[in-house]
Symmetry: C2
């Protein structure tokens, strides 16, 4: 050995598992890692039949799942959980059936594993192929939405991955019951139960250990609020795919069709409000500030939207006697994802100024320009560097289902590996195969 | 605003730049980020002409660069730098010309930016396109090889990215001189000099700040020894692409053509030793342990290779009176990337046992099976989960140049974003464009 020799070992193994939570989480991740290689070799037929059996088992055992959920709801009511969150936590037999349907939908999707992405024969005769293979072990950290437990497990299994689930203490009983059903089906089908492991019982410390389990977990996907995502990004040594923060913009350009603009802004803001592709900041070109803002504000007033408007917008709405509820915008409004019936409004002097505003404040999720001018479209598409950039369409179309992916594991707002809506192929990596016939390098 | 509203700001901005090094590095990264959008819009013609002008300028100013390098060499000699490292640091007029040629080669490559990766018209008429765009700001952290400075800058610029370079204190004068030439050409060509920024003067603290500059730097690519890469992986909040650790295996299967096996093992181990695709562990099927090991050991003995062999291999070589230099293998040998004239040797009972050994010890870079059996090939290709998996070929072919990429920014041993040799497309991300005609979501 020379001074340059290096000895490598997975980071997670070199850290001593000092606490019971650390020991438990690392053991769970290692079990998932050991179980996965067999899954990678299963045919699509076999994987799909397991997903369909899981769907059937969830429906058959819905009572058990709803009973477990009742325990979570009781705890939620005791601490006075926000009604929106409580609704996301709630499971009914109908909702369990809908969750089961997600597994059937996943079964119906094409299998990304095995796709030959690129291939060629090199000048020297070596046969080169880049083939899609599973990532390995996918870690999910999410909040009190038990449907994510099944959805994530289904998409992970379909793409050949084992999955480690950390779903938040508020849904502990629900997730435990759901995971038990999935694991039972795996065993019945002759597969290792550890393809799906839950680590909710290790609490927040367990999540922290998962974030450092580099070498055991191949990717971590946080789904939830900005605080959760920030914590994962800051603390993980496992590679992370950031999802979901959507400070989304619509620009009404000087040449926009105003009637259509009213419809698109309304749809972008109010069709569904608590989602990452909902509109958060409206930019209006000064040339049409009055003609566009007045009807848009009138429409949104009818939907109960509060406008956080800059001075020019406020002056226009005031002069027009708009029925809109308007408050002055602060610097903070430009950077805020409301996820509520609030909308920041800013008048800009040009498309360039709008692009600069977006560049400064956007989270890089989705932006849309409403225009009839080719130059404006060209500038916006070329220079707005977000995952999804639209022309004359509602931001609500920025979605894996709408894009035709059939399933969505999240919407990536980062640039590495996956950007925008992520479907099954985004849960895979590739492997190069090189076939020679005694080839040595000259 | 509701309780769910979130306000986002780039992490790097929220951290106060407490020290001069932190201030300097964050200012440099911000300058690169501000300069990049203009570059993203340049035509290929314009980018290539800048790269060619940089090549000419490097040749024209070779004396200046060699003089700066002399100062680094003097410092290296004063501390008794390892001769191999010193050779990597050395610049001569010929080496400067070779570095300039790399820029001309980059200019000749196709431009990845603008490629439409996928596209379709959705059922509702929305026109969907996934288009390749630059990542933004690429951070490189590397060791005392000044050629990487120019190579990385050239590939980054060609793919539309600004680059922040941290090249190690041993090459400070050389890198400063090289970067000065590149920046002068950018200015002459009417482009912002800050498309290429060096932060060597901020030392190790500067590198640490760069690793936390999330929001300013889009990706960090460490190139160098395992210690450097580990430090970057452990400390970065910026997404990292891990490169280069190659604990590479060749398996001589029971059905291997022994004459070819001797050639391939020799080539894999000795054609060049200090590189990540060089062979580090030889696995030999027990059925051919004697017939394969004896001639392989004889060949390698002639090249000065020391074998770190397990008990069975040692017994075979001893009984055959092999001229090989043999020492007993320890557990550590299986996990070691020697980068030297050393080779671990392990006899295995089956292809399965070889695959398990690789799964346990490999760094996931490159493995090759030498076989004439279709079943062995199929098992090895399906179950060895490394970036590059070969059949009957030298591991030295695991290389961007050999794969026909024309340039290589490194070899990724991780699974996200890029795996295996990385060319220009791996320095890009994609953006979805969606063109509608007043579309709202029902």
């Amino acid at each position: 050995m020379t001074s340059q020799a290096v000895t490598s070992a997975p980071v997670a193994d070199s850290a001593s598992a000092a606490t019971p939570a650390a020991e438990g989480v690392l053991a769970a991740a290692r079990a998932a890692k050991d179980a996965q290689p067999g899954l990678a070799l299963l045919t699509r037929e076999r994987k799909d039949s397991v997903l369909l059996a899981m769907a059937d088992a969830l429906v058959a055992r819905a009572d058990e799942i709803v009973a477990a959920n009742a325990a979570d709801l009781e705890a939620a009511d005791a601490v006075g959980m926000d009604p929106g969150l409580r609704d996301r936590l709630l499971l009914t037999p109908e909702r369990v059936a809908a969750i089961a349907q997600q597994l059937r939908d996943a079964a119906a999707l094409p299998d990304p594993v095995g796709e030959v992405v690129r291939g060629s024969v090199l000048a020297n005769g070596l046969e080169l192929r880049q083939v899609r293979v599973p990532l390995g072990v996918v870690g999910m950290i999410y909040e009190a939405r038990p449907n994510v437990t099944v959805d994530a497990a289904g998409l992970a299994l379909k793409s050949g991955n084992a999955v480690v689930l950390r779903g938040g203490s508020a849904a502990l009983h629900s997730n435990t019951a759901l995971i038990a059903v999935l694991r039972d089906v795996l065993l019945e089908r002759g597969l290792p139960a550890d393809l799906v492991v839950g680590i909710d019982r290790y609490g927040r410390e367990g999540a922290d250990v998962l974030m450092r389990a580099r070498g055991l977990v191949d990717v971590l996907i946080p789904r939830g609020g900005a605080g959760l995502i920030q914590r994962v990004v800051e603390n993980s040594t496992v590679p992370v795919i950031e999802t979901g923060t959507g400070n989304t913009h619509v620009l009404v350009d000087a040449s926009a069709d105003i009637d259509r603009a009213v419809e698109i802004v309304d749809n972008s803001k109010t069709q569904r409000i608590g989602v990452c592709n909902a509109l958060e900041t409206l930019l209006v070109h000064a040339d049409v500030a009055e003609s566009a803002l007045v009807p848009i504000a009138a429409r949104l007033a009818g939907k109960g939207v509060t406008l956080h408007a800059d001075e020019r917008a406020r002056a226009i709405l005031e002069a027009a006697g708009s029925p809109a509820q308007v408050v002055p915008a602060t610097e903070e409004d430009w950077a805020t994802e409301y996820l509520a019936l609030d909308l920041a409004v800013h008048v800009v002097g040009s498309v360039d100024e709008a692009i600069e505003h977006i560049r400064c404040y956007s989270s890089g999720h989705t932006e849309s320009i409403l225009t009839r001018d080719l130059g404006s479209q060209r500038a916006f598409l070329a220079r707005v560097d977000s995952a999804v950039v639209m022309v004359n369409a509602s931001t609500r179309f920025s979605d894996g289902g709408e894009f035709g992916f059939g399933a969505e594991i999240g919407i990536s707002t980062q640039k590495l590996h996956a950007r925008g809506p992520m479907g099954l192929p985004e849960l895979t990596t590739t492997r190069w195969t090189v076939i020679g016939d005694g080839h040595v390098r000259p």
